[in-house]
Symmetry: C2
Subunit: 219 residues, 2 copies
């Protein structure tokens, strides 16, 4: 199918860092797409049809073929459009990128999810500790401007929550999880990442996220 | 480096289905390797050095470069040795293989881990239900001899626990989680998979696993 006939659609939600991963990956490739906003708690029938297993965003639909799960989608984008590679070409470096990318979901996002949603104070402290251990691993792993080297790669995209969401979430919750003193390299990385012209274009506005989390934690 | 100078080493444990994934993938590629058995609760310093993040098996070491996490390792094997592909070449089919492979770990292995290790009867029943829903998704997804088509692919390798471990575990625990009546397609698949000559060569013996789980659940 010729490139000008391609149809690329993203089903997303404003406040989802998982959706941002997909939009940033498409942005880095220079691919235009239609964006369909889904409503929390009131997902469309189309979304259910496209993602019957997890029933959640993001879903990428490329020429009528749906793909779910943000990291699976990002690898699909990298394999479908070859310009501006997101994964390195060397197999060992690819493996490391996948390893750290999975690490962020397994060890960081899980621990932080529990910090945000548990009511048990002891459990929360344990999860904060876990999340700090995970951030320290990432701090040690960062050896260049980006995890991907001079350019944004898979691990950077996966870590969008840490760069952009985390400072907002900790402000709303009155927590100190991530700052320049604790994690200086990661903090500098977050600034470079958030200010990258394509990332900046794809991220939701700080104000809209602040409003979203304030409403969420108030209720 | 010439192929006859390559050094491939696997750090494993007899009873680990995650290690089996790696050994089956290497077997399908026809790659010889040295196997180093690790002791549960008494891991070697070498393993700690190679996998400081998770401190667990499997670890693949290829020409002194370590890689951890079974699914990351299997993709590395597929990208390093091109013969007998484990993932399809079409990007959308690759995405589906990764999706279902991750599904097995997220939705099935997690639910089943809780079935085996919880003492709460209600919690166990909930997890059994979840694990059955996950198996039903896989039953519906199986459209050929293997998930990979005529040949074993990523999803088959990921599902080795279901094919070989699950019948043993349910026997030891007196549970009925997986059989021919509930999941006829998956059951036939499990027979084909376990009897594949390379899989058969790489799996631990049924007797050793039975003994392992009997000892484990007795204690």
């Amino acid at each position: 199918m010729a490139s000008n006939q391609e149809e690329v659609k993203v089903f997303g939600m404003l406040a989802s860092p998982f959706v941002s991963r997909v939009e940033i990956a498409l942005g880095l490739k220079g691919i235009e797409y239609k964006y369909q906003e889904e409503e929390f708690g009131n997902l469309s029938d189309t979304l259910f049809k496209y993602n019957p297993v997890y029933k959640k965003v993001p879903v990428l639909v490329h020429n009528d073929k749906p793909i779910s799960e943000s990291l699976v989608i990002v690898e699909y984008i990298d394999e479908t459009w070859k310009q501006n590679p997101i994964l390195p070409s060397d197999p060992h470096k690819r493996a490391l990128a996948r390893f750290w990318s999975n690490f962020i979901d397994d060890k960081y996002m899980n621990a932080l999810g529990k910090v945000l949603y548990t009511h048990d104070e002891k459990e929360r402290e344990k999860c904060i500790e876990e999340s700090e251990v995970a951030l320290q691993f990432l701090e040690n792993e960062l050896k260049d401007k980006f995890f991907g080297g001079k350019e944004i790669g898979l691990v950077d995209i996966t870590a969008v929550f840490i760069a952009f969401w985390l400072p907002i979430v900790q402000e709303v919750m009155g927590l100190k999880l991530f700052n320049n003193e604790k994690f200086p390299k990661l903090y500098n990385w977050s600034q470079d990442f958030n200010n990258h012209p394509i990332v900046k274009e794809k991220l939701p506005s700080r104000e809209s996220l602040l409003a979203f989390y304030k409403a969420r934690f108030a209720s």
